[in-house]
């Protein structure tokens, strides 16, 4: 397995643990708070029943217990069951039948019991009010609370899954994007290395004429130059990616003159005086585009205007699929891009670092044009 994939799995694993543990703790915290709110509410309800029972006078206990009974019935509708007695006289009894009353201790006892397969919050309290012994038993179904908590747990699980999935995909593609150019550069290094090694072995092992020796030596020099070129681009890309760019005022006319010195056959048309950007990187961008154009066509024109810089050549057009892929921003290996594409990745990185756009147009009869747009889109 590639190193970056291993790194991805480790990071994603840690991410999953952190996210899921976080969600679990959050759910736990919310549930605890919710349960304690329910208990407080139940305690208040139980207390009000207790006070109601304590208010019953012996002489009118049977009449007043009607009120208590009515209150208990209303509670029952909302899933709360009550049994209340005063000095042994049961004023209201709406307690579930399965619940066998135990010895009721003084002071409230609060607990969660399982009755008939369901969870109940049970509060039992016995207290003396003057001469009277008041006993209140309060039981509230916890089904609603359980349902709310279970629903929330599933929502958290789902959200955790979706979030982890999205983040995982994002992380995977980001790591792959970062890693891929390294792979491609490694591939690009292999070709000149094969040339250097191969021709050196050819020189060493073969029975060669003087002409063959010269040819092999010149191929080693050319391969070494190619290698130098690739490493140079690698360094530039490294700097660009690390954001090490220095914006300054560039005399674009001077830069085109410098390019003309390097490629004497090209035509230049400069309608732009200055440009803000990193001088070395912008030169590298134009140099790469021009070198590609010169390699492909025998007529090359560079035109700079307020809109951007165009590098045109009259050579063979680019393959339609490759053109589509590079305009979509895909990173293609140099071998697929052929003569057109050497260093395009570097050019794109430089343009991106400046906030510019690099687009290509190519067709038979019209040639190939690389356009570096330096102004933002109007629409």
């Amino acid at each position: 397995m590639q190193l970056w994939k291993k790194n991805f799995l480790v990071i994603y694993g840690i991410f999953l643990v952190v996210v899921n543990a976080g969600l679990f703790l959050l759910d736990n915290y919310i549930s605890k708070n919710e349960a304690s709110q329910w208990i407080d509410q139940a305690k208040n309800s139980e207390r009000s029943i207790y006070y109601l029972a304590a208010g019953l006078k012996e002489e009118e206990i049977s009449r007043m217990s009607m009120n208590l009974n009515e209150a208990a019935e209303r509670y029952e509708e909302s899933g709360v069951h009550i049994r209340a007695s005063v000095n042994g006289y049961v004023a209201a009894d709406h307690f579930p039948e399965e619940q066998t009353p135990e010895e009721v201790l003084e002071g409230p006892l609060i607990e969660v019991r399982r009755m008939g397969g369901e969870r109940w919050l049970v509060i039992q309290e016995a207290g003396r009010e003057g001469e009277d012994l008041i006993v209140v038993e309060y039981a509230q179904e916890l089904e609603d609370l359980s349902r709310i908590q279970t629903t929330r747990m599933w929502i958290f699980c789902g959200a955790g899954l979706v979030f982890s999935g999205i983040m995982g995909l994002f992380l995977y593609y980001t790591m792959r994007r970062i890693n891929r150019p390294v792979n491609q550069i490694a591939h690009e290094l292999r070709t000149p290395l094969t040339g250097i090694r191969g021709y050196a072995e050819y020189l060493m092992m073969g029975k060669l004429s003087e002409e063959d020796r010269f040819f092999a030596a010149s191929q080693i020099v050319e391969s070494a130059k190619h290698l130098e070129d690739v490493t140079e681009k690698l360094l530039i890309m490294g700097n660009v990616r690390e954001g090490a760019i220095r914006i300054e005022r560039i005399d674009i006319r001077q830069m085109l003159l410098k390019l003309k010195e390097k490629y004497p056959d090209i035509e230049t048309d400069c309608r732009l005086e200055f440009l803000n950007g990193d001088k070395a990187l912008v030169f590298c961008l134009l140099d790469n585009l021009t070198a590609n154009a010169v390699r492909v066509g025998n007529k090359v024109r560079i035109a700079a205007s307020e809109e951007g810089i165009r590098v045109w050549n009259n050579g063979e057009p680019m393959d339609e699929k490759i053109l589509k892929d590079i305009n979509r921003g895909q990173e293609l290996p140099a071998s697929r891009m052929g003569k057109h594409g050497y260093g395009i990745q570097v050019c794109r990185e430089i343009a991106r670092a400046h906030g510019w756009k690099l687009r290509f147009r190519s067709s038979k009869g019209e040639g190939t044009e690389a356009f570096c747009q330096i102004t933002p889109d109007i629409n």
Partner: protein, 219 residues
């Protein structure tokens, strides 16, 4: 002598492979794109294809499948910079006889070419060096029509030199190829056997000493 098609878009590498292959007596035929490769295959009888996977006009794996379909029976060796296991597996499963990753040693490329040619019975088996005739298939060496009294080890050494003719082989490499990886001999073992070969077959001028390196059989 085998005709070997070299499908590689990098001209420098293509030329390097062609020259190295030609040195050993085979004939390298260059092609720089899949289109060229297919047209060469239509025109010429090819014994082996060295195929780069990263071609500009077509994916090498696709080309390999097309070759298998249209020109059945021509062995293919993939020569590529892609060194990842899925690529190797894809290449070998797609019908490649072997898979070589760049940068490679020319010696290694030649050894693999030989192995594949041998597997497909396309390797040259009879060699003539002046009045010496070597039949590798029959393991027989004649000088002036007479059987020679080469020892087994001398014959092995001669075979290695013949299969790598015109290529300089170091003494260490000769030990490895003719004696085997497990043999713990020193350089003088090679020198002694080369001297005997030269004497028995009269190949003093053909088996050249490469100063401080090894030997080369020049035919």
């Amino acid at each position: 002598m085998a005709d070997i098609l070299i499908v590689e878009d990098d001209r420098r590498i293509n030329e390097l492979i062609r020259r190295t292959i030609n040195m050993t007596g085979h004939m390298g035929v260059p092609a720089f794109s899949s289109r060229e490769a297919l047209s060469v295959l239509e025109e010429k009888r090819i014994d082996l294809i060295l195929l780069d996977i990263g071609l500009p006009d077509m994916d090498g794996f696709v080309l390999m499948r097309q070759i298998a379909r249209e020109f059945n029976g021509i062995p293919v060796i993939c020569v590529t910079a892609r060194d990842e296991v899925p690529d190797r597996v894809k290449g070998l499963k797609g019908g490649a006889e072997d898979y070589i990753v760049k940068p490679f040693a020319m010696e290694e490329l030649l050894a693999r070419v030989q192995v594949v040619l041998r597997r497909f019975h396309k390797e040259q088996s009879i060699f003539h060096i002046r009045d010496v005739e070597v039949d590798l298939a029959g393991a027989d060496v004649k000088k002036g029509g007479e059987h020679t009294n080469l020892t087994k080890q001398e014959y092995e050494l001669l075979k290695v030199l013949l299969l790598n003719k015109n290529i300089a082989l170091s003494r260490e490499r000769l030990l490895e190829l003719a004696w085997g990886m497990d043999y713990y001999g020193d350089d003088r073992t090679v020198d002694v056997h080369i001297r005997r070969l030269r004497q028995k077959l009269g190949l003093e001028n053909e088996i050249k000493t490469i100063f401080r390196y090894g030997y080369r059989l020049e035919i």
